[in-house]
């Protein structure tokens, strides 16, 4: 059987379309986290006292620290796009390196934070939570779920950044073709956006 000529088809390139696709994906993420925030609102509405006490168990310092470094990483990603647009490959790589470092640092902090909490006895199904009652159980349930899913997104972000760095090094991403970097940046800002709300809702309850 003869094979039909390989269709050399136009390589369809549409940066604007790719970006629209990314935005739509961001919208699904917003709604996904949105529903978690909705649950938070409902349960806090039902257990205001317990949420207050729960919030006091969390370390404001580590929360603020993670907020600050995540904001810095958002800025470095935004700047790496500027660097690529200007054709400055080296600066872009340095800026992305900082971002990657911060992403890992954030997870390391999270690891110690969670570790300390678990050691102390705050984890789903623990006797301590059982003793402290329903409201606190819900607070920590939501805390682990929401910061856990957020951390998962950080992890995915790390993967994306590694890919982007590799592509920049191979000159696949450069000053006239950088939509991958732009979209990864958008994703990373989304991760930051979520944290901007998680931080006051869990660490700064008063």
């Amino acid at each position: 059987m003869e094979k039909h000529e390989e269709h050399t088809a136009h390589v369809h390139r549409d940066d604007e379309g790719d970006k629209l696709g990314m935005w739509l994906f961001i919208f699904t993420e917003l709604l996904l986290f949105g529903m978690l925030f909705l649950m938070y609102a409902v349960y806090r509405h039902k257990n205001p006292e317990a949420f207050l006490l729960g919030g006091e168990e969390l370390d404001v310092f580590i929360g603020t620290f993670n907020t600050v470094i995540l904001l810095i990483s958002s800025a470095t990603v935004a700047m790496s796009i500027t660097a690529i647009q200007r054709g400055n490959k080296k600066q872009a790589l340095v800026l992305l390196g900082i971002t990657l470092f911060i992403a890992v640092l954030f997870l390391v902090n999270k690891y110690f934070e969670w570790g300390a909490k678990i050691e102390y006895g705050f984890y789903p199904g623990s006797d301590l939570l059982h003793e402290l009652g329903h409201g606190t159980t819900l607070f920590f349930g939501l805390y682990y779920i929401m910061s856990g899913i957020h951390a998962l997104h950080i992890l995915i972000g790390i993967g994306l950044f590694i890919y982007v760095v590799w592509q920049i090094r191979r000159d696949k991403i450069h000053s006239t073709d950088y939509v991958w970097l732009e979209n990864t940046g958008l994703y990373w800002h989304l991760v930051d956006l979520i944290w901007i709300f998680l931080f006051p809702l869990f660490y700064l309850i008063h």
């Binding site: 039909h4 629209l20 993420e29 996904l32 789903p124 349930g141 682990y144």
Partner: protein, 535 residues
Amino acid sequence: MSETTTAKHVSFLEYKGKYKGILGWIFSTDHKRVGLLYLYTMLVFFSIAAILGLLMKIQLIAPGYTIMGPQTYNSMFTVHGIIMIFIIVVPGLPAVFGNFFLPLMIGAKDVAFPRLNLASWWIYIIGILVVLSSQFLGGWPDTGWTFYAPYSFRTPANVLPALFGAFILGFSSILTGINFVVTIHRMRAPGMTWLKMPLFPWTLYATAWIQVLATPVIGITLLLTVMERVLGVGVFDPALGGDPILYQHLFWIYSHPAVYIMILPGMGAISEILPVFSRKSIYGYKAIVLSSLAIAFVGYFVWGHHMFTSGMSGRALYAFSFLTFLVAIPSAIKVFNWVATIHKGSLNLQTPFYWATSFIFVFMIGGLTGLVLGSLATNVHVHDTHFVVAHFHFIVFGGTGYAFMAALHYWFPKMFGRMYDASWANIGWATFFGGFLTLYLPMFALGLQGMPRRYYDYLPEFHTGNIISSLGAILMIAGALIVITNLVRSSRHGEKVTGKNPWGGRTLEWESDTPPTLENWDEIPKVTEGPYDYK
């Protein structure tokens, strides 16, 4: 690309690329092949779920144990629901006809992200396999497709694979939605302004937005249910402080808009078919466009009508009831437009037209009984009875199913380059339609008399209605068999279609080859007229 002349004018069905045989299909990024992959997958699973439905109806032909006990019955309506909802009607028309015809109708060569499109199908298959793995991982769930808390994490039955599978199927739906929105924004042929776009793409557009914005809600809800079952986090478990009604809120925040994912593209297909077989322009094009968008938007805020007896606050009850009545208006506008389109047309009585007009009929019954359920007082009376079952089968099966069949017959010659056998198609339609009404109409009466849903047994006074209904089920399945056999046979042996446009349609897809070539067009068409200009 003019040098690749050999690839030109070879139908996509015959085209041979890098892979041979079945691999040339399951690894093809051609939107038409992906559409057909969905069609074949759905055909298989529709048959399975339909047989489950038939078995349940046979069980109900007499009170007490007929062919199965309660646990088997519970698993059957659960699996029937999961397959029909998550595997058939939610992907439904967008995955099959959206994939196949969206690029053709807007004059594009493919969707915006062809590889992502193929990935959607693969994710869909993985989701199905995970659901089916229940069989080998401890049996079938018995929660109903709704997975209500707290039963879904208390039941000893095996729920996890189904929850997880439905979660994965959600990804497939989201990716299709993203793909279609971008395709419609970026890839319309020159000259095709928004208001020159045919109505099927318009409804796909509204649907795609719901897929993007509502599906993540069910995703996170199912994931939380998994966590609740495995870890006992407490988010829905009343024993740990959780609120099971919140589960219902989240579930229906997705699942009501999901009803519009199911029905909107069906409405779009009907809006394509009626003008062609009435040889008249569609009546009120803009009204249909606007009402589609309005349905997509308002449909987001009516979910509470599934929870009228769950224990919501009084104020929530009448807010949701009011919003539900509101969302009925745009649907009614469409019905009016369709009827006005047929009015004084020169009708061409073909099978797609029969399916389309019977769609209007059953959709109206489904819609009007929906209002009975939307009013608080009557809802309390018929809640969780067979009335509800009849109502949503009139919408989901009567609406989406009939529209699917109408679309399949309408576009059949374009997809396969062959014509179905018209007389068998008509006989099949008539049998199916008769069986459908005999099956579901008595269930309204049974519900009003108080027969609850989801029980394998019933009181003797419901016997007559159930006998009629079960006989209707057998008749309907016979009709479905005739229809499907005819289509499968005709796709291989049907009369070849000569010319591009057997029905005389005015939309763009009829200007492509029959069946279309790999990239649909030698040259992207230029659009100058509206989609329904019949002179």
